[in-house]
Amino acid sequence: MMMDPETKKQREDVCPGKKLELATVQAELAKVQGPEYWRSLEELAGSSEFREMMHREFPKGASEWVDAVSRRGFLRLMGASMALAGMTACTRQPVEPIVPYAKQPEEIIPGRPLFFATAMTLGGCAQPLLVESHMGRPTKAEGNPEHPAGLAGSDIFAQASLLDMYDPDRAQHPALLGDTRSWKAFSDAIRGPLASQKAVGGEGLRLLTPPVSSPTLADQLRALLQMFPKAKWHQYSPLHRDAVLGGAQMAFGQPVETQYRLEGADVVLSLDADFLAPTFPGALRLTRDFVARRNPDAAMNRLYVVETAPSPTGAKADHRLPLRAAEVEKFARALASALGISAGASTLSGEEAKWLATVVQELQAHHGASVVICGEHQPAAVHALAHAINERLGNAGRTVIYTETVHASPVDQTNSLRELVADMRAGKVEMLFILGGNPVYDAPADLDFASALKDSKIPVTVYHGLYENETAQLCPWFTHDAHYLEAWSDGRACDGTISVVQPLIAPLYEGRSVHELLAMMMGQGGVTGYEIVRDYWQKQNKAGDFEAAWRRALHDGFMAGTAYAPQAVTVKAANFGAAAADDSGLELNFRRDPCVLDGSLANNGWLQELPKPMSKMTWDNPAWIGPGMAQRLGLKSEDVVELELNGKKVRNAVWVQAGHADNAVTVFLGYGRRRAGRAGSGAGFDVYPLRTSDAPWRASGVKLSKTGDTYKLASTQGYQTIDTEVGAKPVMRAGSLEEYKQHPEFAQEMVEAPTPGLTLYPNVNYGKDPNFNALGYAWGMAIDQNSCVGCNACMVACVSENNIAVVGKEQVVRGRHMHWIRVDAYYQGDRANPSAYFQPVPCMQCENAPCELVCPVGATTHSTEGLNDMVYNRCIGTRYCSNNCPYKVRRFNFLLFQDFETPQLKMMRNPDVSVRSRGVMEKCTYCVQRINQARIESEKDDREIRDGEIQTACQQACPAGAIIFGNVNDKNSKVAKLKAQARNYSMLADLNTRPRTTYLAEVRNPNPELAG
């Protein structure tokens, strides 16, 4: 079974991960006419390695047993397989117990889920959720469609928070120097020191928290500071928005929150703001409002994006200008000057100047109906300029509104942490409570928080968090937090609306929330989180029936009418500082990772394995460089480089990202964790050592040197590429608004679909027929590519709904990842600045399904309603079906990827979906469990299933409403109407598979002035 080195090398040579030198890419490009749309640079070059890979169902290494197996282990395995081969159907079922309640709660009906409204706080903003609970176990998170901010749909973080809650690596008890202690021991231990602190007014007491949006927690902190008047409360998060608040302070003289109202914006200009990514505050609403204006049959908006690193927002842009972050500032100043704001002289070169002139013209032409959005990575001055520009353009109060901040007591977090470290070093701190966060890992390198903590010999240090992480390791006392699904709390959504965070389950490990910890510190022993939160709101409710209001808030998931009212503020600033001097040095940009953020979510396998929107990278955070720079420096993806800044060095792998600004490197935070847990520890590279307090997002003068090493990266970008002939019509179709107006059917007519009857197999009619499809449903899906913003929420929702396994980096490299729906990113045009498109690909549920014809055991068959059923218990794993699937959507359990042992993970699973074992094929089922449930309910009520009654998991999670599912036989259904649109097209229609999933081609709205 051992592979000889030669074979191994051959296999590695054709593995899709194999990266090409850019020179080779160019040489290949010159030889062949590449495809119009491409997913990876290798595909663009049409290299022979790539073609070999494309013709295969799975990458070449996928089906090989490459792990070392001992002879004895092999014989045992084979012996067992032979013995069991014919006997699999004859297994005797084990005797199963039934454990009913002793006293059943009134509202629980066994076998039916309950939904509770709650909210998840991430980055200080609460996202309202409805969480599904099966017999007391939370199993799925969904957005709350009744929330005033219109948060139908959710994001990857809300979806994946479920796995965090059941994470077996979470800390399970308080600890002193790593040894288990009880909560009582902890409260006894801090009582004495707290009493002596109280005697001196809390002079030596310090608290460090992430930013707080919970009104109850803010109130508790205020009470604590009253009790200890000389104590100090510091706030720090590595994803701080100091520049955003600083910009507001600079412009208006007060820190206000900026909210955007894109429904009224005809022209949108993003200055390095990735406002369609879920990490942007209020992104769900921004996404919904933005795509509502992308309908080519109505008044379509136009999006201009200036950015450094390609982002989903840049991908949706009608015009995108890649600039280094420093040049974005120059651009903003030039734009302000052109609009008559004195912003310092700033000159732009030819192409950029033309771009700017066009943008200025457009913005001025849409007075009061445009918006300029500034990204949080830009310095405060650029934010202030954006405010001034929006005011000048008459947007303030229309497309831009200003409100109170969502965070209670907003401070400059970098300064706040700096003060704390200074106090620690000065020996002024006698008791330090770190309530969440992970400053030892993620504090600015120049503050050196870790050594400050180690050297300052603080008598009592307590870290309170979900994990015993890097910070916990350096704090003698550790207490374990409760997850948001386990504890009472509250929070504000990005528009200010208050939600009560309602737990769905008792703490799995008796963790206590921050509220309970603070109560313990204030000597209110024994008070529960519920009492703390409820008492706070009872005190706020001066008039009226509190009980009714409280019940209402818990039921709805929010308190109606608590959104912040817009404030009238005017720009007072006249001086926006000077533009930074021209700097030709290599620029280093820091970005949060799109999946694991600052590293706090690093142990979440669902997020780690989620391909990042643009690079489709999993499990790693390589540094991005542009193709031009890669060519100059002779670098290719997977080369390891050393980055040096201010004497600090880190190593990182390189990823050549088409569309990245030249002469700049982007590195991603959140990786290289040392104590994250089984999924997060050791994955990727830690770049925090380069990040300093004065340059949190961009630094200049970084030195990049090649090390000669290489590092294997697990990007799924080249996998599952659809095998089309050179010169064939692309599977991804897009056009401009002008083309669409002239020729609405441009996408459909690209390929001539065979006439429906043209098949050797029996033609099936899926209309209503009492002897076949008695109820007359024909399920289908339409995916509007114009709406899809590539946020990946559908993928994580699918993982959560359908019990999809995490396979790990090694397996992703071999192409064995299990996602039932993938979001392909296509690029088009110049590598330096390509257009980019997203195309979500679930199972097409073909009416003439190629997979069904080749299954020797009938494990995949067609239902009367047109579903392509997959029967796991029949599947014997021949993989003929995936071999015959032109869309490459079938996924195979090459190994036992499911964890059948860990008790926490068993509790997490959706009880309505089978958990697949090794050797079984699986794929998207259109969430058949939801269809069956709805059909049963409708039959019991003797009615038809209403349009929209069934939502697939991906559809429900989609904040953009890009995925619509329903009965295509009903001509009035939403899906049938979408399919009747001119933009509707089938992928690979020429193969006569007659897919039930179809796409609405993307239409862009470029400015004719900039076209060509």
Partner: protein, 232 residues
């Protein structure tokens, strides 16, 4: 050279051909029977339970309705096993000191649930829904057998796929009027004891079944034998 085999060996060799065929048949037949035997299906096997609960006594003797305990059966996929609170509704008044009921009282006092052994157990990849079967006129006793005659619970049927398909392919052989589904004494119509539905007296199950298939809007045989009806 002398013959190695005696003449009688001919008969042996001829008969061996038959024997091989018979043996092979016996092996396959044996496996066929074994796979359907109560050893595999547990059909008719009485389970040991923490409390020897008698359906015969409670249903036939006292006349309790199925839904008094199995409350979820009309609305959910599962029928629901009653909490001990349901037992105590009566047993806090009668048989309050019966030693046999000590586990029930103990569970009620401590809140620690009783652990029963599942008698009707489908494989985990099968998703059966009680509520829709009742709604379509499949009675409790069609699958569960004469529960009112069972002092200790057992599964009446094999619960194997061929048994499910037997009805999914020919539902008219088994359907009963909806108002009879909880009636344990319901018997299929005969000319001696007709069953009346909507004013029509049926003397024959085939006729009644066809009428009910239409009346209850049963989906087609092709519909309810699609794989995803039960497997997902």
């Amino acid at each position: 050279m002398a013959q190695i085999f005696h003449r009688s060996a001919n008969a042996l060799s001829k008969s061996s051909l038959v024997i091989v065929v018979l043996l092979a048949g016996a092996v396959f037949g044996g496996l066929f029977l074994f796979q359907r035997s109560p050893y595999i299906t547990y059909a008719g096997v009485r389970r040991t339970q923490p409390v020897p609960f008698s359906h015969q006594h409670h249903v036939a003797g006292l006349g309790l309705d199925c839904r008094y305990c199995h409350t979820a059966v009309e609305v959910s996929a599962v029928a629901g096993i009653p909490p001990v609170k349901t037992c105590m509704n009566c047993h806090s008044q009668i048989w309050t000191n019966a030693p046999m009921l000590e586990p029930v009282r103990d569970s009620f006092r401590t809140g620690k649930p009783l652990i029963w052994s599942r008698a009707n157990d489908l494989p985990d990849f099968v998703y059966f829904n009680h509520s829709i079967h009742l709604n379509k006129g499949v009675g409790c006793n069609t699958c569960h057998g004469p529960v009112d005659q069972m002092p200790l619970m057992y599964n009446e049927s094999s619960l194997q796929m061929e048994w499910c398909l037997n009805c999914h392919r020919n539902p008219e052989q088994f359907l009963q009027p909806r108002d009879q589904v909880f009636n344990m004494r319901y018997r299929q119509p005969t000319s001696a004891k007709p069953v009346t539905v909507d004013g029509t007296a049926y003397t024959d199950q085939a006729e009644l079944g066809r009428a009910l298939v239409t009346k209850y809007h049963l989906r087609s045989e092709r519909d309810i034998t699609s794989c995803s009806t039960c497997h997902r």
